[in-house]
Amino acid sequence: MKTAIAFWNILLKDMRNYYLKPPNISWGIIFPFAWMLMFFLKSQTTVDVRGVLPGVMAMSILFGTTSMLAVTITFERRSRSFDRLLLSPVSLTWLMLAKTLGAIIFGIINAFVPVLIALFFIPVSHINWVILILSVIFIAITSTFLGLFIAVSVSEVFEAQTFSNFFRFPMVFLCGLFIPIGQLPIFLRPFSYIIPLTYGADLLKTAINQNGHIALGISLLVLLCLSILLFMISKRNIKKRWIY
């Protein structure tokens, strides 16, 4: 019960204080929005809109969640208020779950911004909503924990942003959204299969265009495993670096 009160208030505070912070708006909302607009304006047909929608959604989630973590974790660490959390009776696991849930929700909201806009262009009937929602949730969780991993590995907010881009941009190009994996140079392909976004993007393709290549269960399983792995590494890093 006590943990629940703490959990809820940490989550609420982060949502209130950080959802509308400049880096979240610029990286999390404006940036994917601009990409989306560019693609939508370029696409002449509804098929094209459907084709780029998975990519834009995946990017919105990825950029939204990782930017959010740079603020909620790195920024708070910098201003020392994160110490206050570490000094509270809440266990580290619950603490990190509370700190990340805000970003996960933010990522999910971000994902549906492009969907809402796309609805003006394309018929809804093709979309498998169950898979869509499921994949958005899974991508949001994995991206958030990737953001967490980055956020606990650096000590300055700008480093978190730079370090994130080091992951984000290659991922966008390797995940098969804009360039099909089959068309990538052979030596790059293995990288495609170790990044979470490949599986997330494939899930979204299945949901929106029914043209994914990877079995649904495998994608979900890979994302789940990667999430757990990233969470464990982050937890270990906090224990090692911040409780010295």
Binding site: A6, R84, L87, P89
Partner: protein
């Protein structure tokens, strides 16, 4: 019988090869204010961090209410309150929100949170500041709110790291008064400071810590006892008088005394046995020195500290000024 709320055995902390805290042994008695007095880099913050769970001891044990929490301070955090040396509240939230949030971390329900927060704001004279963002606060107000945030869950033991460093004299006095009244209301306090007078004024017991080691520990009067054995008389003279004008003759005639230079024309005479004033005055007279003042110096805690630790009073003073910048 004295109840030890906190007990520390052979507590050490190494950073790579550097021994920052070296085998500390002490305990904090329920309802007292226990002070850690030492210069910069003595290991005060490192000790607090180990006791509160921000740093892992390299060796040694920490007992709280006689239970060993060394490996898992988290379990004791509910009864611990911490006020760090730098404010760590949320800049964009107001005073009331900050306090309520801190209370929520300890699982306190909403109505109770608000009730306690408002009471503390009132007690700390921050009621009007309560709905202004924390970033608009002055340093003194920030320190007060940080103190309030540290006690909102009514901890059994409160850790204060340099509670008055870096704030003006008036705010420091307010903070000291608050600390005193908290203690009188039953809170046990462990505090660090490098202000000797602050330790003397607030603490029931003091540990001198230098280079990670406790040099001496005890009640103020126990600490003073040693120094009080020394009798000190301070002489001031008319005109400029240098030590070398009479030093040799003095040492020859009063071999049981020790002569120390304070400033030009002011000297102190230390002696382990009671001093007779008349022979001293006639000695100075015979050397053509006119005594304008002679007074008995009661040793202060500062002198005790200087004597025991070998740290010059100027070092501690300079630190104070350095910190203010």
């Amino acid at each position: 019988m004295e109840q030890h709320i906190l007990r520390v055995e052979n507590l050490s902390k190494k950073f790579n090869d550097f021994l920052a805290v070296n085998s500390l042994n002490f305990s904090v008695i329920k309802n007292e204010i226990f002070g850690f007095l030492g210069p910069n880099g003595a290991g005060k913050t490192t000790t607090i961090n180990m006791l509160t769970g921000l740093a892992r001891p390299t060796s040694g044990s920490i007992f709280i209410n006689d239970k060993d929490y060394t490996a898992n301070i988290k379990k004791a955090q509910e009864i611990i309150g911490i006020v760090p040396d730098e404010s760590n509240l949320y800049e964009e939230m107001d005073g009331l929100e900050n306090l309520c949030f801190c209370a929520s971390l300890y699982g306190i329900k909403k109505a109770e949170r608000i009730h306690r927060a408002k009471k503390l704001l009132q007690q700390f004279n921050l009621t009007t500041a309560g709905n202004k963002p924390y970033k608009s606060y002055s340093k003194g107000m920030k320190r007060k709110l940080t103190l309030a945030a540290g006690i909102i869950h009514e901890p059994g033991i409160l850790f204060l790291d340099e509670p008055t460093t870096g704030i003006d004299v008036a705010s420091a006095r307010q903070i000291r008064a608050l600390i005193k009244s908290l203690n009188e209301a039953g809170t046990t306090i462990f505090m660090t400071t490098h202000y000797i007078e602050e330790a003397e004024r607030l603490c029931h017991r003091i540990a001198f810590i230098v280079n990670g080691q406790i040099i001496k520990i005890g009640k103020i009067d126990e600490l003073m006892e040693d120094a009080q054995k020394d009798k000190i008389i301070q002489f001031s003279f008319d005109g400029i008088v240098q030590l070398n004008q009479f030093e040799n003759n003095f040492n020859h005639q009063f071999s049981h005394c020790k002569l120390t230079y304070i400033q030009d024309s002011v000297f102190q005479i230390h002696s382990a046995i009671p001093l007779d004033l008349m022979p001293l005055i006639s000695f100075f007279d015979s050397h053509g020195l006119k005594v304008t003042e002679a007074r008995i110096i009661k040793p202060s805690l500062e002198e005790v500290f200087v004597k025991i630790t070998g740290i010059e009073r100027d070092v501690m003073k300079k630190e104070k000024e350095g910190r203010k910048k």
